[in-house]
């Protein structure tokens, strides 16, 4: 069946992410993992999440990760990424945890009640704007905070004095612009 092929791709590419010594290969195997997880969401009839997975994970997070890989490794020594130090301890430990989880999953009598129609974008929008309104707004503030924090942290080098003042005043003006915009939205 197609589902088992997709599940095999998910787990197989995740194994490549875990075991590949070259971190660039890990990043591209992660791309395959995210795509096939979107496929798993389709099998669960969660189409909106499948699209969000492709757009946000593949289009956003993975590009960030690949940028970080390219910026933090000199192109020459990309190959000597990570010698696995305690693999002989972590491997059996993780295998034990996995065996325990599989035993738990297969031995529990789940009360399965399959619903026929669910997961439409309409339902998700209603619940997001109704019952979970507060969490939605908090998530918006969190995203704004993460954006400002990441931009502040990843600023260019702070050695030159004049340059430092320039970037500081620049970020200040964008900050006040953003808060003005938010205030206008609220009004």
């Amino acid at each position: 069946m197609i589902f088992y092929a997709v599940a095999a791709i998910v787990l197989g590419s995740a194994v490549i992410v875990a075991l590949s010594r070259n971190i660039v290969y890990s990043a591209f195997a992660l791309l395959l993992t995210f795509f096939s997880i979107a496929g798993v969401y389709v099998f669960l009839s969660a189409e909106f999440l499948a699209v969000a997975q492709v757009v946000i994970y593949v289009g956003g997070i993975l590009v960030l990760i690949i940028f970080a890989v390219m910026l933090t490794n000199k192109v020459k020594d990309v190959n000597l990424s990570n010698p696995s130090a305690p693999a002989y301890i972590a491997g059996p430990l993780v295998a034990l945890i996995f065996a325990g989880l599989v035993w738990l999953i297969t031995s529990t009598p789940w009360k399965v009640a399959l619903s026929q129609d669910m997961g439409t974008v309409n339902d998700i929008g209603n619940i997001l704007m109704g019952k979970y309104m507060l969490a939605f707004e908090v998530a918006a503030v969190l995203l704004l905070g993460a954006l400002l924090g990441a931009a502040y942290l990843a600023r260019p080098v702070r050695s030159a004095h004049g340059r430092k003042n320039n970037t500081l005043s620049g970020s200040d003006s964008t900050l006040s612009d953003a808060s003005n915009g938010a205030r206008k939205e609220r009004n």
Partner: protein, 101 residues
């Protein structure tokens, strides 16, 4: 019809592989990839339970929030990693031991 258990086993497999990466890898970017795998495994479990057990879209809504948290975490963590690289010239988590500003 695919049984619920098979989705849960995929989710458990992703969780364990992510855990293995977080434990074994020393490159900070690779550890971040492991965290993303763990979050994705949890998301699959949420959607599977929402489809097979509860019958409402609550699980899918929760996954949307998980994705939001993952985006924030990835952005801030990568900014920190770039800063560490600027200061130490390495992203090996064994060599960045001092907390000096």
């Amino acid at each position: 019809m695919i049984p619920l258990q098979h989705f849960l086993i995929v989710s458990a497999g992703l969780l364990c592989l992510g855990l293995y990466i977080v434990l074994v890898r020393k490159n900070a970017v690779a550890i971040l990839m492991g965290i993303e795998l763990i979050l994705n495994g949890a998301s699959i479990a949420f959607v599977a339970f929402s489809r097979y057990v509860s019958g409402a879209v609550t699980g899918q809504t929760f996954v949307i929030f998980i994705i939001i948290i993952a985006v924030c975490e990835a952005a801030v963590a990568l900014a920190i990693i770039l800063n560490i690289y600027q200061n130490f010239r390495t992203v090996d988590t064994d060599q960045t031991k001092e907390l000096k500003g």
